[in-house]
């Protein structure tokens, strides 16, 4: 058991920006913890707060719990934890989290046993707080390591964690689960195997696309609607003769759903890089707009009034992401041709999401109209699923 700090130590972090219901209960909570300097803040900030990787070496030490609200396909609240964090310091029930991400430094090989033992204790405790809790280990700072070295370490970490769980002295925590008989080996074995199966291992680096993939796994893990979105993507991809399609969260470049056919690391790198470069490009021109003639229809004032009204309404009615949409603004689209074969194309679906597809240039040129026609149905389908949850 982690040493029990007095419950008073858990003081609430940042004061809430606003007391509106927009906040906590609707958000999926994700707890990020791990050894000091493992890279927890880097994993969060570079993906969800747009911090450039070149700033990674300059982060200060996290002093207290920080809650990062992030709106994507589902609203998330990611908790970054300070050095010496203990589960008892939380000011909310541990069971209110849906996922625990444990970040560890792949380069600290001599510390693996302690680091993993700590992780296993967290897993066991969190499981009894929320039996559906999902666990992910980010085996971080991998960029310095050669491929076979990475794989060796990955296997070693996975093996150590499994052994540790299978040997766990469950009888010491009988009080957490009075209804189970932990002196019966068949009970504890089943439990340990259950826990082994609830852990996902991911190799990550702040400097590589795999960090976004790891988060993609975490986000997809808490998306109830994932299977239906995946099915829509799969149908669309197959019907239109595409190679792959990916539904991205635009700002974080995390894939929230994909058709999951024959994807490989190069393709993932390529589509992720494609999206980032396009967003960088868009940044350069997005503020351009026609200067309205003095004599022409001047709609500027009208717009502002509209906005004020919208803002006022916000306070009274619960809002969905679709309320933020300005129906006047057309969706972003982009198509990049490569030679000899491939075209990459993007269509925005919601303020936060965009579809990126990879297809043969010949297919694109021959059936573009059909693809765009089918796309309107896919977009509607995805939007309908999202509005229902």
């Amino acid at each position: 058991m982690p040493s029990a700090a007095p419950p008073t130590a858990g003081e609430p972090s940042k004061p809430r920006a606003s007391p509106l219901p927009k906040d906590d209960p609707l958000r999926e909570r994700i707890l990020v913890c791990g050894w000091r300097k493992a890279g927890k803040s880097s994993c969060i900030k570079t993906v969800f707060q747009g911090v450039p990787t070149k700033d990674v070496p300059y982060f200060g030490v996290t002093q207290k719990i920080e809650k990062i609200n992030y709106d994507t396909i589902i609203p998330l609240q990611i908790w970054d934890t300070p050095t010496n964090f203990e589960l008892d310091q939380l000011d909310v029930p541990l069971g209110s989290f849906s996922t625990i991400v444990y970040v560890m430094d792949m380069q600290q090989e001599d510390m693996y046993p302690e680091i993993i033992a700590r992780f296993v204790q967290i897993v066991v405790r969190a499981h009894f707080a929320n039996p559906n809790m999902k666990f992910a280990i980010f085996i971080h700072k991998a960029e310095a390591m050669a491929q076979d070295y990475r794989e060796d370490n990955y296997r070693q970490i996975q093996q150590t964690a499994e052994d540790e769980l299978l040997d766990f002295p469950f009888h010491t925590i009988q009080n957490l689960a009075p209804s189970l008989n932990f002196s019966d080996p068949s009970v504890t074995n089943a439990l340990a195997n259950d826990l082994v199966g609830s852990i996902r291992y991911r190799i990550t680096s702040a400097y590589e696309a795999n960090l976004r993939e790891a988060w993609s796994g975490v986000v997809q893990g808490v998306m109830e609607m994932l299977p239906s979105v995946e099915q829509l993507l799969l149908n669309f991809t197959a019907n239109c003769g595409m190679d792959n399609s990916f539904l991205f969260d635009i700002a974080s470049r995390v894939i929230v759903a994909a058709d999951n056919r024959g994807k490989n690391d190069e393709t993932l790198d390529q589509v992720t890089d494609y999206l980032s470069r396009f967003m960088q490009f868009r940044e350069l021109y997005k503020n351009l707009h026609l200067e309205v003639d003095e004599n022409g229809p001047n709609s500027a004032d009208g717009d502002e009034e509209d906005k004020e009204e919208e803002e006022e309404e916000e306070e009274y009615e619960p809002e969905g992401w679709w309320d933020e949409e300005d129906p006047e603004i057309p969706w972003m689209t982009q198509a990049t041709r490569l030679t000899p074969n491939t075209t990459l194309a993007l269509w925005q679906f919601t303020p936060h999401l965009a579809l990126v597809v990879l297809l043969r240039t010949a297919t694109w040129e021959a059936t573009r109209g059909m693809i765009e026609y089918n796309l309107t149905f896919l977009r509607q389908g995805v939007r309908r699923i999202l509005m229902e949850v």
Binding site: N287, M332, T333, T336
Partner: protein, 370 residues
């Protein structure tokens, strides 16, 4: 007949200042990270880079260890410093031997002025990324710049001529880790390109028929910006033309072209891993309609419009129509496609058959349906 212009570009500066790194990032598609593997340059490495078909840069990357510098200044002096179009001199902002660095520079600049008085001089103060955290206001850079300008003026006074034809000296802070490198090199290239006026007037025409805010040409390999429509590169908003003002160009980032160079080159590198090459894109976002397409064999064109009537297909159609004519500037010494923009130009001889015959359509004639 060939119209190729060969320009000699000297790349000098102390060993380790980043000369070979720059050359590799700009001309060989290295990433900044890749340059850590570069070996030291021994003696002079010459390379020829073809630009726009009609311009070849002879790039002399001069080693830069001390004994080589001495050698440049004595035995090889005439070979090295004769017929130079541009000297690019690279300083390392982190250098702890500034006095000495400056003395070398003075020797080199003196030798250059004796042999190629009218050469342009670009001072690149490099590795700015290493100092920006501790010196965000760039006071060190300003000091270095002032020192360099003093040296230039001292040499100018010493020389007997009145200095009328003395090439200009320009100073840029650079880092291979960001777009500042592209900015400095674009500035070099821009002064060397032949027919720049002709390219610009055609870009402006193309921009206007596309109801666009800007039309910009990039060199295909380096993705350095070559020319843009309307006001010259680096103009302040007060000098923008009517079309630029109408499109609200004053909100645009003045560094955007360097950033585009970096974006496209970075993406190209990613695509190499899957064995594909970047060919162009089209896009609509916010109020913008944008295409980036190959223009001639050695260039790409970017057109950005905010006019709601414009579709990418219109832009692509106009680009296709302009392609053959714009290729003429690089490949021929006599223009022979009928073109109202070229008729009175001062840069290339214009001798289009049927120029006076109204039944022959000019390239830029919109025709009865235009």
């Amino acid at each position: 007949m060939s119209t190729t212009a060969r320009k000699k570009v000297l790349l000098m500066g102390k060993s380790g200042s980043g000369k070979t790194s720059m050359r590799s990032v700009i001309f060989s598609n290295y990433s900044a990270r890749d340059t850590k593997r570069l070996g030291a340059t021994i003696d002079v490495e010459q390379s020829a880079v073809r630009f726009l078909g009609s311009l070849v840069l002879n790039l002399w990357d001069c080693g830069g260890q001390n004994n080589f510098v001495d050698n440049y200044l004595t035995a090889q002096k005439d070979t090295i410093f004769a017929n130079v179009a541009v000297l690019i001199y690279v300083f390392d902002i982190t250098s702890t031997e500034w006095e000495e660095d400056l003395r070398y520079f003075e020797d080199i600049l003196t030798a250059l002025r004796e042999n190629s008085a009218d050469a342009g001089v670009w001072i690149l103060v490099n590795k700015m990324d290493l100092l920006d955290k501790e010196d965000p206001k760039r006071t060190r850079y300003e000091e270095r710049r002032a020192d360099v300008i003093r040296v230039d003026e001292r040499i100018a006074q010493k020389s007997l001529g009145d200095g009328e034809d003395r090439g200009r000296l320009r100073c840029f802070p650079t880092s291979i880790w960001d777009e500042s490198l592209y900015k400095a090199w674009s500035s070099v290239i821009h002064t060397l390109i032949p027919n720049i006026g002709l390219i610009t007037s055609h870009l402006t025409y193309l921009r206007d028929v596309c109801l666009a805010v800007e039309a910009v040409v990039f060199e295909a390999e380096t993705f350095l910006v070559i020319a843009k429509s309307g006001s010259p590169l680096d103009s302040p908003p007060s000098e923008f033309d009517k079309q630029e003002n109408r499109g609200g160009a004053s909100v645009l980032d003045p560094q955007r072209f360097e950033k585009i160079s970096e974006i496209i080159k970075g993406f190209r590198k990613t695509c190499q891993r899957t064995g594909e090459q970047f060919l162009g894109f089209e896009s609509k976002f916010d109020e913008c309609t944008v295409v980036l397409e190959p223009m001639t064999r050695n260039t790409f064109i970017l057109i950005v419009s905010v006019d709601p009537r414009v579709e990418t297909a219109l832009m692509q159609y106009n680009i296709v129509n302009a392609q053959i004519h714009l290729s003429e500037f690089a490949g021929k010494i006599v223009l022979d496609r009928k073109c109202g923009l070229c008729r009175n130009n001062k840069e290339l001889r214009y001798d289009a058959p049927g120029d006076l015959d109204p039944s022959v359509r000019a390239w830029d004639d919109p025709g009865p349906y235009g």
